[in-house]
Amino acid sequence: MAVTHMTEPHTGDDEPLLSVRNLTKHYPITDGLLATDVGRVRAVDGIDLDVYPGETVGIVGESGCGKSTAARSLLRLEEPTAGTVVFDGEDITAFDTSALKRFRRRAQLLFQDSDSSFDPRMNVGDAIAEPLTVQGMRERTRRREIVTDLLDRVGLSAADADRYPHELSGGQQQRVALARALSVNPELLIADEPTAALDVSVQSEILALLDDLHATVGLSILLISHDLGVIRQLCDRVAVMYIGEIVERGSVEDVFTNPQHPYTRALVASIPTTDPRERGTAVELTGDVPSPSNPPSGCRFHTRCPELIQPDGYDFDQRTWRRIMDLRQHLADGTVDIETICHQSVMDHDDDTGPDQRSETEPTAKLREEFALPEQLEDARADSILESALDCLVAGDPGRAADLLATEFATPCEQHAPTLEATDAGQDASCLRHD
């Protein structure tokens, strides 16, 4: 283990080991007998990323944001739709089969699900040696020595080589997976959720091991995780992904202590605190992540963003503003169940006063309640427009209601896609508030 490598973080003027530009991976959606193309799942939609030698870079995001697809595409385990991936000066998207095979010695992927990443019929020794065998090392004794050394380094014993994957615990499997990835002495290790399936104590062991290898072997690591704690612990720099795009990128310190994108802020705030006295401080994001097959227009986060930009001339409470936009979103999705809401309103009314005294404003008040909107918006003009939109809705014309709201309460966030640009805080963020 006496080999020395560059372990210092990059200084800025050296060449990146990995340089990803505009990496894109779309999956076609086909339909019908003739398998006609009816759309695309934009799993990864143009990401730029650099990894310098000896550096640990994280990609963080929720499930479905495309981070795993990005990992597989940039190793060409899946063919990227577009973009270039330059590794040590060479564009790997142009590699032929034999060049790609040689490239696999230099960049390895550590899989998320260590259990299914092992052939149940191959013992641990053969599994670790598989990359060596595949790459052409024929001498069995030499392979065995390397396997023994690797097992030792990842904290297992040589006798474990004869065991089968199902005989190992999750943590041991992940150690074996790490040994397999290291066997060809790669310069870059892409670790895809290496600890997601593990207990905290085991997770901590694996992270310590990765950190140790990073230091002793001089590996560059691209760590992909949904867990900000893990990223924070291991990485120098981090990129935050949301629906196939990078929304913020910078040093871990900057991004986590002073996040510049509202999504990052929400993500950082939703990490459960480890202090019970600080509970309940999370910024709660409403709704689910939209589908990458039909990403929102403009800024992709605008359907959930708690810091949405307001139209000129308005100054709503940000929470109210979010709810108006949620109502618009529901109208656009066609998922407002006006029948049920009005029906309930009539029923409630029946109980109290009887149908005769029902006032005309009753159903719209019910709608406001349903969408958690205040009874009266502060701004009178805005309130009258909201009221007339709700009237249209009650009258059974949701299309007109949507139009009314869309013309009055338009936000630049849904019209203009922000670009990833440097912010005053130091890191890059893609938010119109910084443009």
């Binding site: 929720e62 499930s63 615990s169 999750g170 943590g171 207990d199 905290v200 104590s201 085991v202 997770q203 901590s204 062991e205 694996i206 992270l207 310590a208 950190d211 949904h226 867990d227 900000l228 704690g229 893990v230 924070r232 612990q233 929400a266 993500l267 939703s270 990490i271 459960p272 605190t273 480890t274 202090d275 019970p276 006295r277 600080e278 509970r279 309940g280 999370a282 709660e284 994001l285 689910d288 992540v289 529901h330 998922t335 407002v336 169940d337 029948e339 049920t340």
Partner: protein
Amino acid sequence: MTQDDPLLTVENLHTSFHTDDGTVNAVDGVDFTVRRGETVCLVGESGSGKTVACESITQLFKRPPGEITAGSIVFDGIELTNCSERELTDIRGARISHVFQNPQNALNPVYTIGWQLLEAIELHQDVSRAAARAEAVELLDRVGISEASDRLEAYPHELSGGMKQRVMIAMALACQPDLLIADEPTTALDVTIQAQILRLLKDLQAEYGIGILFVTHDLGVVAEIADRVVVLYAGKVMERGTVYDVFETPCHPYTRALLDCLPGRGSLGGIPGSLPDPMAPPAGCRFHDRCPDAVPDCSTGDQPAFESVVGEDHEVSCLHYRTAAEPTVLESGVEPRRPSERTDGGDTHD
């Protein structure tokens, strides 16, 4: 509602599994109580027996091989270990509900969620179809699923993971249970969705006053939701107390090690060694062979008896917690603001 009357009292619970290779005592003498309106977290790593402990309450595991060999489980005055399968069936779902870790597997993919929700309602309540449907819509609405009446027609695969877990919670709430047992309900979910679900559980608890038994390995979640914490290791309780006491003055070395494993707290490296063989657990304290503070006494006799520590119902099963932990913290009663600031054995600082 009497807050202090325990809703569920588990005493000296022993649950064993008889396998081909021998008997595994998955739960080996566990005590805890859950009161109404309270959230109790069972914390431990996989293999600690936390899931078996909560499945023992309504005997959800397969029998055989599983069997409750000793102990008592009193739920609202009923001794559950003496109940027949029929009586248990009446209690399951109606008075004690479960929410499982994996919403993907807990919902049947061939039925709509409405069908499954109505089934849960009609199984335990004598109501008309229309009333059941109205209740289903109400429930989905309550767990934060918008346009609920449309969603009744949806199939599980059409919903996201967070949505499915909301449906599972709605099903668990269908019969207004007194006790909700949630087994790692957020482990399979993203952090932002996890925050939503935890908030939902807290809101529902405030509204209905149900007791929640929450099983998790994630101490971050515990800090977020628990009132009281029970730390399990290899089938035994190591420490229990209020969440503040356990997090701020953790007394058992295992609790401290677990807290140190949290990313961003303590140091990297995990807990050296691995869980003991469940067929042949070590004598003495179960944790002694991985314990940084172990002394020879720790490896003889039984698991140490519980000793009370400063704090409400704060108890620890460790012979030497006083010497192992920072004594000034415990004796002076001064609470440190954050547990990471405490100084123990001296080896956890980086």
